[in-house]
Assembly symmetry: C2
Homo-oligomer: 339 residues x 2
């Protein structure tokens, strides 16, 4: 009898892990069984998120972090998450090439990862892939995301420590980025710090952090009005007393990389000594559970809809022609759940 996929993953078999991650990426149902088996063996990896706008040099920075971790003898898993293009099939190859230097190192496992079309599936699939690397025993898992949208924020919530990479020369754009991903930052890396304007970026980040103190109280009020279907906000709950450091780096010249890793380690120590790592793990699990549940329920409900009413596109045609009422249909399907 052949060995089950999850057993091979637990033995550290990279090919088996790649196969499982491909199943996850493609949303194949058989992945669930393996994940279920792996679950009790997870929860040990330290997860570092690296995120920021396109062109900030995240891949080069990640590459340098890997090199530093390898010098310390740590085994590193890397998940490079790209929004999939429906027509390119996803991964931005140029970026991935920047990490090729580790391609032959058995202590490094890099997997480029893209998913699209599965509604809201990106953060769920990323969380599942982190679990695979975790079960294999990789001590550190780096998750690199490209972008500044809600997706990237959701993915960042899966990390213990999130590094937000920015670069000089973004002009007013820091305004737009501020309104999202900057707030999941545990550590800021101002990359390409030899460019003009690096000091200005540092100053802007600093004043933004000061503003945060002022706004924090009003936020609580604001959030009180929000609805229930919301995973607890990991960073918000767990980052109370941590002041995100702002570090200047030049990844291409390896400048500031040791300091960056040291800031990440300090944040880790902070989370552990303050007991907040537990809070963060809890929030992570809550978000992943909600994702799992939501996908599962929707899949079942759509299958039921198809059996009873017809295919989704047929039903959608009826809705578009105002011959069917989407609210009544949703009620009918949801009522089964409640009984």
């Amino acid at each position: 009898m052949s060995e089950a996929l999850h057993e091979r993953v637990l033995r550290g078999d990279v090919r088996a892990a790649s196969r499982l991650m491909r199943q996850i990426e493609d949303g194949e149902p058989e992945a669930a069984e393996s994940l279920r088996e792996l679950f009790p063996r997870t929860g040990r990896s330290y997860v570092v998120g690296v995120t920021g706008p396109p062109g900030a040099g995240k891949s080069t920075l990640t590459d340098r972090l890997i090199a530093g971790l390898r010098r310390e003898g740590k085994r590193v898993g890397v998940l490079a998450v790209d929004p999939t293009s429906p027509f390119t099939g996803g991964a931005i190859l140029g970026d991935r090439v920047r990490m090729q230097s580790h391609a032959t190192d058995a202590g490094v496992f890099i997997r480029s990862f893209a998913t699209r079309g599965n509604l809201g599936g990106l953060s769920r699939a990323t969380g599942d892939c982190i679990r695979v690397m975790d079960a294999m025993g990789w001590e550190v898992v780096i998750v690199e995301t490209v972008g500044v949208g809600q997706d990237e924020i959701d993915v960042a919530q899966l990390a213990h420590t999130t590094v937000v990479v920015v670069v000089p020369g973004m002009g007013d754009d820091i305004q737009a980025i501020k309104a999202g991903i900057l707030e999941v930052a545990d550590v800021f890396a101002v990359n390409k710090a030899d460019l003009d304007g690096a000091d200005r970026v540092v100053r802007e980040l600093r004043s933004m952090l000061e503003l945060r103190h002022v706004v924090r109280e009003t936020k609580v009020l604001h959030h009180g009005r929000r609805i229930a279907v919301k995973a607890p906000d990991a960073k918000e709950a767990a980052n109370g007393d941590w002041e995100p450091p702002i570090l200047k780096v030049i990844a291409t010249r390896e400048q500031g990389i040791a300091e960056l890793w040291s800031a990440i380690s300090s944040h880790r120590a902070f989370l552990e000594s303050s007991g907040q790592r537990k809070l963060r793990d809890r929030s992570r699990e809550a978000a992943q559970f909600v994702n799992l549940l939501r996908d599962r329920l929707l899949k079942d409900a759509l299958a039921k809809l198809e059996r009873e009413r017809g295919r989704l596109d047929e039903v959608a045609t009826e809705i578009a022609e105002r011959r069917a009422d989407p609210y009544a249909l949703a009620d009918q399907l949801a009522n089964r759940l409640r009984s």
Copy 2:
């Protein structure tokens, strides 16, 4: 007896509509009842999406489009969608100010819109707000989104015609943007076309479009492997014979705006004469129905979980400590639905 909120909205009462949209934004359950009543009176507005990376000048461009539509006597609703910052509460004020010139015009209804925390709720809430403007009888609804992530792609899918705004000087970043939002484009606007590099951007977009023809066949194969829980891809299905035009504009100087509106109108004529507007409406309704159903199911399931097992954060603690199995819990909750 006072008039119901939906009746006031149908009469075109802007204050009532704002109130309903605030309810939608905050995820308040009473919004559902009004939406249900409005639904049969919707489906008439033409929806134009304006999207692109931060700093591309989308708000200025939208402002100029509004002015053009007003000269034709059309009544315009505008939804400016921002990713909400958990600490600023969202809307990027500077951008909104750029549209202030229409603040006193009764033929223009601008609503800034931000939502976060409701998992995957952004595109659902946006779709619902479009319905409100639609029911009020606004002939054109412009939806402006900030960003390049999956969220923005989902929102773009709600539009009949999507304008993707890019600017020169993004360097390699066009690579990253390419891998997502460019593919929902029906019309490209290269804004700030007086800057160096505008022609290069046009050339890059053009070669990207050529590439698309080549890749389209392989995509079908690729997608064949994807799972079922996927809303039909509106743009993919409906845009077969349309070649997205690439227009140079300078929004601040009103250059190219008439041509841009003419390209949008051509796309609209194309959709209508080819019968593809129906396909697109169907896809939109499918996506919105899936969002509605998903939120509804999840809310019911989490309420059930809380009654039977405890609060989400308590359950998440058990999961984090590996005392509970998330897969088994999801099974239990989903099994009620199937019966």
